[in-house]
Each structure stands twice: as structure tokens, then as C-alpha cells.
């Protein structure tokens, strides 16, 4: 049994959901997509599958690192489409795991927002290997009923009004980026900091640690901490803001002027994909950047696609929810990148936590 066939059989349960009508079970081409569960809901993919002789087998990832480890361990030959973070594409290209995107087969890529067209991330020698797919921001979320004013990054480093009531994500990359933004280190220097700058970062992170209630690891846990009042302000993802507002808690979301961390996931095609499977995969990539999928993702996610395809189909409220009503929000973004000295960043982060 071929490796690919084995994986397909093992994932039969997952595949059933995507295949839907029996007709799809005999589709001439099957695409194996490694992705996050929230991106591959059956109703999001139904219009694509209903009009084509293609089926999709889904395999879900828990973290970006897990996805890379699977491909690195030899999984690239069995997967047709993956979903790496924009800052992580470099890992895959350095490991020679991806093939360039054929833009002729992805006409919707012409609708990418300018910031994604211009970014050098996901590219090697001008060729795009990871095409921006969907994006969002990681803001400060806070209990508006328990804080006097909208916070910025300084709340994690100055004053003592909220000591023991703050939380920070346990993630070296973002934790150090926030300290760098607080210290005013410009974006073009941020990912290439020298020893002196890293020493400054460590100093302020030690101050930050003394003010924290905890470092959070799952967004569900952070939502819980907000709800119980253990934490009043945190560097967060967006979901707790909407989830707790819906439960009647007065929440606030701050996008500090010093910079907001933007994230973006891409879609990328492993190197071994070819022939009919490659054509079908690019057809799917084009669909994922198109208006039908974009609208469903915006309403159901709510997440913003990297193209403007669905923007005009959304109400102003829906646009506002996913930050595309006023695109100038992107001017203040600091996109996550992969620092060349990342091992030292992780060591520094652990030193602070262990202190």
C-alpha cells in the first residue's frame, strides 16, 4: 500500500465529512489538505466540491510547529496543500519542501491587499512559496469595567495599578516583539537585535514578569481568566473580546499606537505535488482566495481573507469585525518574522520565566 493511500485510509473518518454526497467518493482527484479545523468547515468547501470532480481529505493541525515537524519527517509526499504561518514559510523553503505558486492558475491572487503583495515574507528570490491566505491581529484585550482607561503596551511594564492582574501569552516571539515595541525599537531592527538590545529586552521582561498573574497557553483558558476576574488585561487573541461581550461582560480591545502584532497564515504547495493533483490543488487555492469562501470565513470565522474578493459583499459591521472597514489599521502592523537568532530569543524568554 502506498504511503499516500495509507494516510488516506487512516483519515477516512475525517474525509467522510468533506466528501458529502456519494458522488464525491468517486471523484477523479482527491486533495489532501493539512490545515486548521476552522478553515475547512464542510459548508465553506461545499460550493467548490459541488461544482467539480474533486474531493478533499482534511487533516487538522494543532500548531504550526506540528505541521512543520510532520512535513519535515517525510509527510510532504502525502500532502497536497498546507497552511503555514507567513513567518514560518522560511522554515519550509530552507528545508526544500515547497514548490513556487503558479499565479497563472490562481487569478484571485490579483486581488491580494497591497500589504500582502508587497511583503517579502513567503518569498525566495522573487518567487512566492506561501501565498497569504487569511490574517488578523493580536491586540490587547481588557475588562473595560475593571480598567480606567484604554491600555497600551506600557501597561505591562509601568505603574502598579494592575500588578498581578495582567497576563501575557507564553510565546517567546510575540513576548519579545512587544518588549521591543515598548522600547521603541523600529520594526526593521526588531528581528535583528544585537546583544545590547536583547539585554535591554530582558531587563524590561523581568519587570513585566513581576506584574503578571500568569502566562497563558490556550485562548480558552485566557477567556476563563477574564470571566472570573483573575486577569483584567492581557496580550490576547481576538476571540475573548467577542465571546465575553456576548455574555454581557464589558470588554475592550486596544490596538496600541506603538504597533500591533499582525498574523497571517499562507497556503503552500509541497514539492512533490504534480499533474492532475497539482491542477486541482491550485483550483482549490484560487477558490480559497475567492469571494464565496471569503464571505463565509468573514461571517463564520470571523476572519479576514488576504484578498479583497469578498469585501464588498460584507456589511460595514462585518467588515469592522475583521478589521477591513478601515484598511489603514494595517499601517500600524508589525508582521511576525522569524529572527535569525531565534534560539537565543527562546533561551532569553525561558531565562526570564525561570528567574
Amino acid at each position: 500500500m502506498l504511503r499516500r493511500d495509507f494516510i488516506k485510509s487512516a483519515m477516512a473518518g475525517t474525509a467522510l465529512g468533506a466528501l458529502g454526497p456519494a458522488a464525491r467518493a468517486i471523484a477523479s482527484t482527491d486533495i489532501l489538505w493539512m490545515t486548521w479545523e476552522n478553515l475547512a468547515k464542510d459548508d465553506y468547501l461545499a460550493p467548490f466540491l459541488d461544482s467539480r470532480d474533486i474531493s478533499i481529505t482534511k487533516t487538522f493541525i494543532g500548531t504550526d510547529d506540528e505541521q512543520f515537524a510532520k512535513l519535515r519527517a517525510g509527510g510532504a509526499s502525502s500532502v497536497d496543500l498546507i497552511t503555514p504561518g507567513l513567518d514560518k514559510v522560511e522554515y519550509y523553503t530552507a528545508s526544500d519542501l515547497l514548490q513556487p505558486i503558479d499565479f497563472e492558475k490562481v487569478p484571485n491572487a490579483a486581488l491580494l491587499y497591497d500589504t500582502f503583495k508587497a511583503t517579502s515574507l513567503g518569498k525566495v528570490d522573487g518567487e512566492t512559496y506561501g501565498i497569504p491566505f487569511y490574517w488578523g491581529i493580536n491586540p490587547i484585550v481588557y475588562r473595560a469595567d475593571l480598567m480606567d482607561e484604554e491600555p497600551d503596551w506600557s501597561v505591562f511594564f509601568e505603574g502598579d495599578a494592575y500588578n498581578g492582574k495582567l497576563a501575557m501569552r507564553d510565546y517567546a516571539l510575540e513576548g519579545i516583539m512587544i518588549a521591543a515595541m515598548y522600547l521603541g525599537i523600529p520594526e526593521d531592527e526588531m528581528f535583528h537585535m544585537d546583544d545590547k538590545q536583547l539585554a535591554e529586552i530582558k531587563k524590561v521582561l523581568m519587570i513585566q514578569k513581576s506584574k503578571l498573574r500568569t502566562y497563558w497557553n490556550s485562548i480558552g483558558d485566557l477567556t476563563n481568566l477574564f470571566a472570573t476576574g483573575e486577569v483584567v488585561c492581557a496580550f490576547s487573541w481576538v476571540p475573548p473580546y467577542y465571546d465575553l461581550k456576548a455574555k454581557g461582560i464589558e470588554m475592550g480591545m486596544a490596538k496600541p499606537k506603538q504597533g500591533v502584532i499582525g498574523w497571517c497564515d499562507t497556503i503552500a504547495v509541497p514539492k512533490g505535488v504534480s499533474g492532475a493533483r497539482l491542477d486541482a490543488t491550485f483550483e482549490l487555492v484560487n477558490y480559497l482566495l475567492g469571494e464565496e469562501y471569503g464571505k463565509m470565513l468573514a461571517v463564520g470565522g470571523p476572519y479576514a481573507q488576504s484578498t479583497s474578493a469578498a469585501r464588498d459583499l460584507l456589511t460595514e459591521e462585518e467588515q469592522d469585525k475583521i478589521f477591513i472597514k478601515d484598511l489603514s489599521v494595517m499601517d500600524n502592523f508589525v508582521w511576525k518574522q522569524n529572527p535569525p537568532r531565534y534560539n537565543e530569543w527562546v533561551a532569553l524568554w525561558n531565562e526570564v520565566k525561570a528567574s
Partner: protein, 287 residues
């Protein structure tokens, strides 16, 4: 007639034992090999080096995290031993009809899963938790005690609770095999209570104490979820540091070296534990 060295049963068991050894050892040996490699971005260089072990020895962070893991484990072993001793004695020597019921009850919390137990402790220890609310209702405190949750105290309370059953079971088995006639003889010879405990009960239950202690020690040293979710900003453990190295930093060689350092120390502890059991058996034989 001379018997064959290996019986039929031994031959039948051999493939299973061999498979088990291979499945247990192979991943550990791969980990050991990785610990002598180096990483350059996403490329693992296979040139053998001791650099990772030198990095661990030279890093105050990793040294202190390893020491903290074993310190925590020792503390929890001591706490569980103190609590488990009377419980195990009671179940073994004072309960007859309901013995299996009590042992089953002891294991009930283990059926609920780590996360559920951790969140139950949060409900108890949190700012709006049962303890703080009760103390405030009784006017003992004016505002919630924040140090109850997200602190080393919370971590060690939960760890002690989580692993207590393993210590009780180890000690219960030791008490079950303790012949009461030794105690009667010691009493007849005029030994006071403390002397009967120190010179008869303790030496004869050491195997149970060591067996339970080793189980608790290993599990606490390897537990990162409880410190992470209850320990607050100080909840980092050496296991979560290894997780960071294998995950976000893609430094598998350093992560492997730390894992093997931990494993070596644990094996040393097992060796010492086995020695203690052997010596206590000799003592028991002498008795």
C-alpha cells in the same frame, strides 16, 4: 534429567519482551543520538559534539530548572509520604470489609483526568473561589488572597493531591505484608510506640515507601501541566522548556540533551531506590 535453560513459556514470551524493549529503547536511543548533534536554523548537523551538554552545564537557567524539578518532586514525595502513611496503615490494618471500596474511592479522582482536577483547584483557590469567599464571608479577610492561586503553593497542593494515591498504594501493599506478630513481639519486649514504629514498622515498610516514592517522584518531575496552569508567572518547568526547544525553537539536539540529562538523573534515583529496597530486604531478613 537436566531442564532446558528456557521453558516453552519463556520462548513464547521472548518476542513480546524483545518488541517491548525495542519499542521502549529505540526512541530513547534516537533521542540520545540527537543530543550529540547541532542545529543550524532548520538543518541538523550530524557531526558529533558535546556542545549541548556543555550548554546545559553552563546555563544557570537549565541547571536551576532541573534542580527545581527534582526539588519539587522530593517535596511532593515527602508530603505524600506523610499523608499516605496513616491512610495506608488504616486501610491495611483497621479496615476489613470495606477495604476494596476504600481503595477504589482513593482512585476515583484519577478517573477524572488532569485538566478537570486542575480546574477544580482553580475553582477552590481562585479570587472568587470557595476558600476566598468563605474567608471573606467569615470576615477573616477583607479582600481575596491572591497568593492562593497561581503560586508555588497552589502547584504543590495540586501535585500532592494528584499523586497521593500512588504513594498510598505502595505503602498499603507494604502494610499488608507486614506481619503483626513482629509488633506484638516488640511490645512484649517493652518497646515503646515510637521505637516500634522506627525499628520495626518503618524498616519493614521501606520497600513500599521507596516504590511509592519513586512513582510519585517520576510523575512530579515530568508534570508540566499542573505548574503551567496553577503556578502563574513562575510556572515554568524544565519539561515546558524542552517543549519550547522541540517546538518553536526547532532545537531538537538541545531538547534531546536536556531530556537525557533528566533521564540520567532519574535512572540514578531508581538505582538508589533499588539499593534502598535491597538493603531494607536484608534488614527484614535479619529481623
Amino acid at each position: 534429567m537436566r531442564r532446558s535453560i528456557l521453558s516453552v513459556g519463556d520462548w513464547l514470551a521472548l518476542p513480546v519482551v524483545a518488541a517491548l524493549i525495542a519499542l521502549c529503547c529505540a526512541p530513547l536511543l534516537i533521542l540520545l543520538a540527537y543530543s550529540f548533534f547541532q542545529v543550524d536554523f532548520v538543518t541538523i548537523s550530524h557531526d558529533l559534539t558535546l556542545a549541548n551538554y556543555a550548554k546545559i552545564a553552563g546555563s544557570e537557567t537549565y541547571r536551576s530548572l532541573i534542580a527545581r524539578a527534582f526539588g519539587s518532586a522530593l517535596l511532593v514525595v515527602a508530603l505524600t509520604a506523610v499523608i499516605a502513611y496513616p491512610v495506608a496503615w488504616f486501610i491495611a490494618k483497621r479496615v476489613h470489609a470495606a477495604k476494596s471500596t476504600l481503595l477504589t474511592l482513593l482512585l476515583v479522582p484519577l478517573y477524572s483526568g488532569d485538566l478537570i482536577r486542575i480546574f477544580a483547584w482553580r475553582v477552590l483557590l481562585g479570587a472568587e473561589g470557595a476558600i476566598n469567599r468563605s474567608l471573606m464571608w467569615l470576615n477573616v479577610i477583607d479582600e481575596p488572597l491572591s497568593g492562593l492561586l497561581f503560586s508555588p503553593l497552589a502547584t504543590h497542593i495540586a501535585l500532592t493531591y494528584n499523586y497521593l494515591p500512588f504513594m498510598v498504594i505502595g505503602l498499603w501493599l507494604a502494610f499488608e505484608s507486614l506481619d503483626d506478630r513482629w509488633l506484638e513481639a516488640a511490645a512484649d519486649l517493652g518497646a515503646p510506640t515510637h521505637a516500634r514504629f522506627l525499628r520495626v514498622i518503618l524498616p519493614l515498610t521501606v520497600p513500599g515507601l521507596v516504590a511509592g516514592g519513586l512513582m510519585v517522584f517520576v510523575m512530579v518531575a515530568g508534570d508540566y501541566l499542573t505548574p503551567q496552569l496553577l503556578g502563574g508567572a513562575s510556572g515554568i518547568t524544565i519539561i515546558s522548556a524542552i517543549n519550547d526547544l522541540f517546538g518553536t525553537a526547532f532545537d531538537w539536539p538541545l531538547g534531546s540533551a536536556i531530556a537525557w540529562t533528566m533521564l540520567s538523573i532519574l535512572m540514578l534515583c531508581f538505582g538508589l531506590g533499588a539499593l534502598a529496597i535491597r538493603r531494607s530486604s536484608l534488614v527484614a531478613e535479619d529481623v
